[in-house]
């Protein structure tokens, strides 16, 4: 029941042709070209048996990179029609059961949603489709100038020494620790108090606010410490430095109130709709086999965020340059 992909349906070629036509004599421009393309499309239809794939686009650039690369391969190699849907995580998972979403390509771990939608405890509308090869690194970061000028700041024991420097109008005399977008699991309030740090967590509330804050801090050489994560396109622009917290050990984050250790590395994974898998189809195997590295994702994310390419164009560029990796996914 869903709309043919608006983003995918646009043909770059026809756009160029349109521009060219506009320059040539208007009426002289092949009056039948719409008809021609229609016939061409008609003959193409029925060729592939892939059908439509509903791919959720969660709101960050790295995710977009993975999703569009998978989509580009599905379209060009398997003849699928991709429907990209811009959704937050919570709503994406709700869509598995209704057939509105088939694939979430990068999941950072949502125990609550798994409880609701995985077969073990929930309605079984979603299932884990294995790691996508990316590793999420979460931690406390400072802008590079700070790490360079005060190298000892990268050890948490020394943070109190600088607490005053970190204070802002929001932190009530203590140092300010910039918490992040509430989409991410954060234990910083507990870590701060359990490590006896003289800091107050102030939540930026959105990724955009955190990124802007780090960019400004680097540009103006201001003190800033906050929650951040890799892979993220910002690192290509501002190479944030990670502060060492007591090392993560199994179970040290089990009780949210008692956390006093660093965040673990997170294996990012693919989540898919159970009914979509049951239907089968070539795209299922593609998503199952899809895996790539943080460097791969960062490169496509850079095409999108730094070079201003459209996600579909950026994905196509990477696919063209990495045919060997793509072939592995197609098995």
């Amino acid at each position: 029941m869903h709309i043919g992909g608006k983003h995918s349906g646009r043909k770059q070629g026809s756009r160029l042709a349109a521009a060219a036509c506009a320059m040539v004599v208007l009426a002289g421009c092949g009056g039948s070209s719409i008809d021609d393309q229609t016939k061409e499309n008609e003959s193409k239809a029925g060729g592939g048996d892939c059908g439509e794939v509903n791919m959720a686009i969660n709101p960050w650039v790295g995710y977009e990179a993975s999703a569009y690369v998978v989509g580009a391969v599905a379209e060009s190699e398997l003849g699928c029609t991709m429907n990209y849907k811009e959704l937050k995580e919570d709503v994406s998972w709700q869509g598995f059961g209704t057939g509105e979403v088939d694939v979430v390509i990068e999941d950072w771990g949502h125990p609550d949603l798994e409880k609701k939608f995985f077969a073990e405890a929930g309605d079984g509308s979603a299932e884990d489709f294995g790691p996508n090869g990316n590793v999420g690194i979460i931690g406390w970061f400072v802008p590079p100038w700070l790490a360079e000028e005060h190298p000892d700041i990268l050890e948490y024991e020394n943070l109190n020494k600088y607490a005053k420097e970190f204070s802002t109008s929001e932190s009530g005399g203590k140092g300010q620790f910039l918490g992040a977008d509430p989409s991410y699991v954060q234990f910083d309030e507990a870590i701060v108090s359990n490590l006896g740090l003289d800091f107050k967590v102030v939540f930026s509330g959105s990724e955009a606010a955190s990124i802007t804050a780090f960019q400004q801090a680097e540009k103006n050489k201001e003190f800033l410490i906050g929650y951040f994560y890799e892979p993220q396109w910002l690192f290509a622009d501002v190479d944030l430095q990670r502060v060492n917290l007591p090392e993560y050990t199994d179970g040290c984050q089990d009780d949210p109130a008692k956390v006093d250790c660093d965040y673990p590395e997170t294996e990012l994974k693919k989540i898919v709709s159970t009914s979509w898998v049951d239907e089968g189809g070539p795209a299922v195997d593609l998503v199952k086999n899809f895996t790539w590295t943080n460097d791969d994702q960062n490169l496509v994310a850079k095409y999108i965020s730094e070079d201003g390419m459209k996600p579909a164009d950026a994905a196509k560029k990477w696919v063209d340059e990495n045919q060997d990796k793509v072939d592995a996914w197609l098995g």
Binding site: I3, E64, D90, L178, F203, A209, S305
Partner: protein, 663 residues
């Protein structure tokens, strides 16, 4: 506000000052007494019983709300209500998809939509001509061309489709309700007013995920959310128009023995016409302001490019589609207004109908030819790519980079001054007092300024806030809202008076006011963040940008309407400009000032969620949290209801206070 100047009663939890003595002291003095007592008790009790909670903790009430939502979610395959609404949602999706294939996306196997850009531009221009004449036709044509020239043809069509469907539904639901609202007795009006207040102040982020649950992802959710937010203005404004049809007219026509239906259709609705048009207008504006929010659940339209640019901190590329939303808003606003004027003119027979029909027929044929061409030729079907969009985006980028680089230090200083000088002390008092002390103080102030009328709503709202368990966050939000409203009113008085006194100033400022009201806040968040950092002050700025325009307009209109004879009388006695403004214009425009403060306040409240996204924490953050993590939905809902309660409480106190003033 010195403490010694008051003669406070010192026992903690002191009862509100006795009301019966009000006549001896002016109200503001009593207000000072209350604040004085409050500060004194605060000095001994601050930091106790503030009900502060860690960010990720929740109360039983909040947990119960989450569990309720989960229960509905778990039952979705069998729940008949969900089945029904889901079916309705599917119809919306089908309708939107059909319209999209008509004008916005390729109707496969066709490589292009059924009607290409040339046909759409021609039809829209012709419709503008038919509805309101040449000037509007040119405005409409230019606006539609700008969608394509800046590279957002398809997204603009989508937004127009969603807005069109939502506004149509809002009118279908809204007009009957407006008739009820305009003719009902006092209880009916009160009940409807409360429901409308709820719909307008409840942050959309709270009901976004439930709406998806009931109606599905995408176009359906976008339409439903938009209708919920956009229907109140038409009910309020059209209802007001119907109620205010002069009683003598109704009596005169009643005496001819008409039925109630005849009275409604022949007298009340026609006479309230221009007000109803204003209502439709405001409903359209409200619908457009949902564009970016709808994009959070894959609602088609210009909101999508704004959001995806935001994820890349790409100010320029958020600005261009954001500005096109403003273009749509201005176009629709001017067109509906002009169309209503034109049809009134036509009804009075001031138009040469034959000539008009001829012009419309000839141009109509032209439009149809354009439609035919747009179905035949690729160049007329797909808008040619231009470099306008990227060029403007780059220019905007460098402009904002220049602004932030140049003014960064200055703005930071301003932010610190306001925060340390006004915001922090006020927040210390309101949020760091024990909750019972703040509650009693608010109650006492409500009694002093609003009288007994304000007492009941204040008690109900305070109890609600306490039960929902986000008291501390609510008080921080209340502080920010008060400071923002104060700034809004300062701007409104200064600019409003200036605009009323100088026509050129009015002409120069008004477009910026329109833009401030309709441009999505996501467009200017990043520059504001760069200037002021993630902080409560940034949230206040965002609130002021959105709320000041309506307040400024209201004050300007109010001051302008002060009768010229009064003004001339004042001038003849040799009063200075300053005296003229402070002794004549502002006091005479008092009604407008109160209305401006009231609207400013409600608009500021609706930006609390945005505040949560720029580091202001408090209720705004709770709502974003609830929208982001399903296990926190109940906390978000509790925060949303808390905002509604804050809004209703402040609104009722202000209204009661304005009434006591005029008594």
């Amino acid at each position: 506000m010195s403490v010694t100047a008051t003669r406070p009663r010192l026992e903690p939890g002191a009862a509100p000052p006795p009301v019966q003595e009000r006549r001896k002291l002016p109200r503001w003095a009593w207000g000072l007494v209350v604040v004085g007592v409050w500060i004194l008790i605060w000095a001994f009790t601050k930091g106790q019983d503030t009900l502060q909670m860690p960010q990720r903790a929740h109360t039983d009430v909040q947990q119960a709300l989450t569990e309720f939502r989960d229960a509905v979610l778990a039952s979705r395959d069998t729940n008949p209500v969900v089945q029904l609404t889901y079916q309705i949602g599917a119809w919306f999706v089908d309708l939107v998809s059909w319209l999209q294939r008509l004008v916005s996306i390729p109707d496969l196997p066709r490589p292009v939509p059924q009607i290409g850009w040339l046909g759409v531009v021609a039809l829209a221009t012709w419709a503008g001509l038919a509805a309101a004449g040449w000037r509007i036709a040119i405005l409409v044509g230019a606006s539609f061309l700008s969608f394509g020239l800046f590279g957002y043809w398809s997204d603009s069509m989508d937004l127009l489709i969603i807005t069109g469907i939502a506004v149509t539904i809002a009118i279908l639901i809204g007009i009957p309700l407006a008739v009820y609202y305009g003719t009902a007795g006092r209880t009916g009006v009160k009940a409807v007013t409360t429901v409308l207040d709820l719909m307008q102040t409840m942050p959309t982020f709270v009901y976004l995920s439930p709406v998806v649950l009931f109606f599905g992802i995408g176009a359906s959710a976008a339409v439903v959310c938009t209708v919920i937010y956009a229907v109140p203005p038409i009910i309020r404004i059209a209802g007001y128009g119907i109620r205010n049809v002069s009683a003598t007219t109704i009596e005169a026509t009643d005496s001819s023995g008409q039925t109630r239906w005849q009275r409604l259709t022949k007298v009340q609705l026609p006479m309230a016409r221009s007000t109803i048009v204003v209502g439709i207008n405001q409903t359209t504006m409200a619908a457009l302001s949902m564009a970016t929010i709808a994009a959070f659940v894959d609602g088609p339209g210009l909101g999508q490019p704004v959001l995806s640019a935001l994820f890349r901190n790409d100010v320029g590329n958020a600005f261009v589609p954001g500005a096109l939303i403003v273009v749509i808003a201005v176009m629709l606003d001017r067109t509906t207004t002009a169309a209503s004027e034109a049809s009134e003119k036509a009804a009075r027979g001031q138009i040469d109908l034959r000539m008009r029909r001829l012009v419309l027929a000839v141009t109509g044929v032209g439009a149809l030819v354009a439609v035919w061409m747009s179905r035949q030729f690729l160049w007329a079907a797909e808008f040619p790519t231009t470099s306008w969009g990227p060029t403007v985006a780059d220019a905007v980028d460098s402009f904002f980079t220049w602004i932030t680089d140049t003014f960064d230090g200055l703005t930071q200083a301003v932010a610190d001054a306001v925060t340390n000088g006004l915001l922090n002390p006020l927040q210390d008092l309101i949020a760091e007092s024990p909750w019972w002390l703040t509650a009693l103080a608010i109650l006492a102030l409500a009694l002093v300024f609003g009288g007994l009328k304000a007492l009941l709503p204040t008690v109900v709202c305070l109890v609600g806030l306490r039960v929902l368990g986000l008291w501390h966050d609510a008080m921080i939000t209340l502080t920010m809202v008060l400071v923002a409203t104060l700034l809004v009113m300062v701007l409104a008085v200064v600019l409003g008076v200036w605009m009323a006194r100088r026509r050129m100033v009015d002409l120069a400022i008004r477009p910026f006011l329109d833009a401030g009201q309709t441009i999505p806040p996501f467009v200017y968040l990043i520059p504001v963040l760069a200037l002021f950092g993630p902080s409560r002050f940034t949230a206040i700025i965002a609130g002021v940008v959105y709320a000041a325009p309506i307040a400024i307009k209201l004050v300007a209109d109010g001051v302008r309407n002060v009768s010229t004879t009064t003004l001339e009388a004042a001038r003849s006695t040799g009063s200075t400009t300053w005296q003229e403004i402070t002794k004549v214009q502002l006091p005479m425009a008092q009604g407008s000032l109160v209305l401006a403060a009231n609207q400013g306040l409600l608009y500021v409240l609706s930006m609390v969620v945005i505040g949560g996204m720029v580091g202001a924490g408090a209720l705004g953050y709770d709502i974003v949290l609830g929208a982001s993590r399903s296990e926190e939905w109940g906390k978000g809902a509790a925060a949303g209801i808390s905002i509604v309660l804050l809004g209703i409480m402040l609104d009722r106190i202000m209204r009661a206070s304005a009434r006591t003033d005029t008594d």
